[in-house]
Point group: C5
Chain length 323, copies 5
């Protein structure tokens, strides 16, 4: 579905274009065309391939989807794939995909399976003509920046999830199962974010410093900024991952500690029952000559001794922490 | 066994050849020969060695088999080994091997222990003369692409296996043994896929960018595409591997939790039996002066007290989650 | 908040400046300006941007904060971010941030969320004119050195924390929960220190050896010294981290050992109660013909046999270490 | 002990030499000398040092032994150390050492603590004059190839050991101790093989591609072949190592599962005994008014109720898998 | 404390010098000065700084101590820091520090907190004038070699410690706590040795091959030899570390196995007591009509049945390995 198609000159929009007019404007050296598609059909993609002269393999990647994030050069064009991450209400990650074709004077973005659009990117770009006049290289930066900015939000929420688990980690023992379940789910999400951010980090490293593709010339400091943001994200993910590994170990330890405590309680209570049962057993024997049985206070003394022994045991178990 | 032997010119088949005619056609600079063998005998390989002038060490590798995936240059020829992966009905991986010799105007593929052929690769190539006219470099790409495409399928099934285990991971406790067995089997398969994909990834990196072997010149974007596919596969395998490691840890935790729950149940039931037994023991004592024994309602009261205490305990154990 | 603003020439302070005078002094090639801000407002930062001609992206990083440690070149200016670490009384780490802008003849430091100032750095620099006359490159070194020196102190305290835990590790079993809690907290701190030191290490590597930014020329041996300090810190953190991982494993083993000991005690005590109970049960049977019941010493012999058996068992359990 | 000492020309043996004649033949540019020592004494080594003009440090390494595998250049000579692995009947690894000195026209191999000789290498080389005429570079290759070929055999046996353990891993629970012991022993052997293969891999990488030592010129494809074999060995070792790590985890899980099953059995059997004991206790009470005691069928009904309850419990425990 | 101060020419000692004469001899191009200090005071260091013209930062490092092993170039001087390892009688590692300043014609070694001196290094060097005439580059090599040689001894002892633990690992169960304690202590020592050896390995790599500092020219094969020794040490440490990690896992498994065995014993013994207790309970019931109670052989038959059942159980438990 075509979302937007416009031509820009000197940083300002000069016209909204019909698709057929694209190739005409693209041939103007001093203006550039910015097209946005959403969940594009193969036909739309083929149309774009013709209008912009895109490389067959790149178009195929965009059509098939499920690519890794990457930046590829086809001659003097760039083909970028980004993962657009979003979190639904239940905290599940949704992974959309954005394919961006960039030429000297055009940008084509194709957004798939993502609820989040780039209209605000376009609006902000149009408000800053001094930046937009850098042309397609700036638009690519702006789109990347918008995608990467969302990662921060996701990572902050994942850090929050870890902190939530950490708070329960040492307190309530009954939460062990829940903790482990949430830690596992968190790990899944971290892997997803890593898959979005790490390959992109490596790819963007080629857009600043040393030789850079033509469309990025003069924008190096901006791409370095995106790179820097991604590196922060990647490092944060690594930290969460490292703490998560420790948290799983801690959970295991807590389960063992809990079991250990149960074993101790079991042992203690068993002893508390075993003592009176043993005494009762003794006085339940049928020997003819058991003088205590004849004592007037035999029974209450026996009961009392049971109680006294149990209280003593109780106190001892309390003291060593078994109860 | 010879599967196919044909000569091509300008992207179209010009003749099916007898083996003896190969060397003649290979000497033509503007046509190329594409030969496919399956489970080749040493004699067939020697014949090919003579016809194509292959290097002794490469032929020995192809004869012996059990090579790692690799791309080696012998002068201006390439020798490639690929692992052809297949999954049988029981979900077991079968590893076949494909050795490919590529010269300026010939391609020789030798397929071993693999049920899957390349006839469809040849058919598709013959339908696309504009690509096939790139010659042996394109055929090598097409063969690699066909092999690598199967990896995706395998990896998707392995991801499915992991998801299947994950669903059971937190639910039914009795599945722990099965989970661990399947996780271990899955790990074995991941190692097999890694062994097929990782060395190939490293090898293909030399077929695009920088200096490339002669037969690959002009095909770089295609080889980069295979590289890119392999990288996705390798990353997916790494993710599954990482989640698998966590899943093993989770299984261990689940076993511990299950044992902990059993310990608690054991302790609780032991207490439920110990209480009436203790009371019964007390009233089984043979003291002469035990007034309760004479009471008309002594017995039902004793029974009642047993029941009441047990119900109270039961309720308490339920409340703290031991039962 | 402006802390300090002064101009220096030939290693000596020549004037305290009002902010408006900065740009004038900066244009003198033979003197340099050193400005220190604390928790700067956006307005202050904008003022500085104008006076020093700072790059927009660098200023934005300083304003937003929460950057990774880094050293970036913007033309012939350097922009550095350092993490200022501090430990409060409770042993918690506080992470402040220091942004430093360095030009050929100015240094601007912006300190955020950090209780620790650089007044002593300035004082010491002013006492060493032969070093201060190196200009802004020396000031950057001095600021970095001051920040990194604090890391040593932090790392020594973390090493102390580890040793504290280690002392308890094998002695008192009841401390397992505490040990694990503290090991986890220690891990958190190590991650924080790593995040401060590792990226800085990588960044500083570009300030000595090979091509270095203009402001650092002639100061290489000093930057290598900071690098060397950072490397020691990073290695120390790695060691603590490695020992910590082992310590967590040891804690798990200790918990298991403790549980094992409890199980043995439980088994032993159960046996000690079971023996007399069984004997008592036997002599509580109601058979008519049980000759022992008639014996004059039946009862004391039965009691004695209970005691003897229990003492024997006790001794055996002691010997095998179950009690 | 001198095993062999011969001169070769144009790929054929021309003479068996006495040690004193070596230096004479070495000075001929068109022939080369191949000497083999076994468990050489310091005197023999010194003699060789003089005859061949070997470097002091290399000779010292050969004399001392216990070197890592390596390839070192001393001027235009090469000094190689290889580990010769062998497996005795008990499956224990024996590590011998082979030091090889290679000059433009000589090869000296010194074999220590290894039962396996190189006579077959010499025999095969003498049967292939077209290869042997490459001179000392080929002999070095042939020796390396012979040593590395044995690694395959060792690795296959280690893989077999792992498979043997894997078969027991999930089946018989009682084998846990044996499994762990064998896994640990296997790990030791893997480390030994790694120590033989990994440094050699790195060293051989310098014998093909790029600048190579003079004696290896023209033999690059052969050295690449050895490299390739070593890489397969190293990767196989890595796989075994990875699966072994998982197998240790699985063993731990199996131990826990076994313990869990024992706990369940314990709990179930305890319950089966506790029920009749409790009922018997109740009817062992001495209350005067217990009507059941007077019933004609009181006793058999009590017994029956015990049996019925136990059968019901048994069935329930069977159903939930505790028995 | 000054240990030694002498001038050498052409490989032979020409004079013992007073400190004041050093600068004079250092200015001679054809002789060199070798000074050894032990636990030097700041004053001594300052004196040396003046005599040799040492760099301020290097002297500060030597004074402060607690440096990482390193080799730094200050102009055409080298500054090296080595860790001198020693093991006391209790097996604890002591870490001393050796700082070495090397110029074209001087060597100054400063030894701190180390009981081991270098007098034998000097003696051996003076016995080999043909090597000593290489000057300061040889002395640095000789000192390094002496320090590194001690590492071998340490590593052998640590390997011995590991073997000692391994022997106990699978045999006596009661040693689990001791094993874990010793494994942890061993890990600490390995970390210490790693900290001495790994940075030195990296540093020495710059003293041979490619561009080397002036004082090392012509000594490359000797420095490569030290490098090689260090690499063996590092690899040995890595092996021990790897086996140690496995040994900790094995210890955990052994603890679990031990606990499992205890659980089984507990269950078995509980059953052995429960059976007679249950039977006795049955015949302790007070039903009026219990025919067995009247039998003449009722009591012995009951006793016999208890014994028979227990023997049968005992035999069964023995057979399944629970007892």
């Amino acid at each position: 579905m075509l979302i937007n198609c416009a031509a820009y000159q000197a940083g300002s929009k000069i016209a909204d274009l019909p698709v057929e007019a694209i190739s005409e404007y693209v041939s103007h050296p001093d203006c550039f065309v910015w097209v946005a598609l959403k969940d594009a059909t193969p036909e739309e993609l083929q149309e774009m391939q013709v209008e912009f002269g895109l490389h067959e393999l790149a178009v195929e990647d965009a059509r098939k989807g499920h690519q890794r994030p990457k930046v590829e050069e086809y001659g003097n064009m760039l083909f970028c794939v980004l993962h657009a991450l979003d979190m639904d209400e239940a905290g599940e990650l949704e992974v959309g995909e954005v394919a961006i074709f960039v030429g000297a004077n055009f940008v084509l973005s194709v957004r798939n399976r993502s609820r989040i659009g780039f209209l605000n990117v376009r609006a902000r770009a149009e408000r800053e003509p001094h930046l937009l006049q850098h042309g397609s290289g700036f638009v690519l930066y702006a789109l990347m920046d918008a995608v990467v900015d969302r990662y921060f939000e996701i990572v902050h929420r994942l850090e929050g999830e870890l902190e939530g688990i950490e708070e329960r980690l040492f307190s309530a023992n009954n939460s062990a199962r829940l903790n482990i379940e949430e830690l596992y789910a968190l790990k899944r999400k971290l892997v997803t974010v890593s898959h979005a951010a790490v390959p992109l980090l490596e790819a963007i490293a080629h857009l600043y410093g040393g030789r850079v593709p033509g469309v990025c010339v003069g924008m190096q400091e901006y791409y370095r900024d995106v790179y820097d943001h991604l590196e922060r994200i990647v490092k944060s993910v690594e930290s969460v991952r490292e703490m998560l590994a420790a948290a799983i170990q801690v959970s295991l330890a807590m389960i063992s500690l809990d079991e250990s405590a149960v074993s101790k309680k079991l042992a203690a209570y068993a002893a508390l029952f075993a003592v009176p049962t043993m005494i009762a057993g003794v006085y339940g024997m049928n020997f003819e000559h058991m003088p205590e049985l004849k004592f007037a206070y035999g029974y209450p003394v026996a009961l009392l001794s049971m109680v006294v022994l149990d209280v003593a045991l109780w106190w001892k178990f309390k003291r060593v922490g078994w109860l």
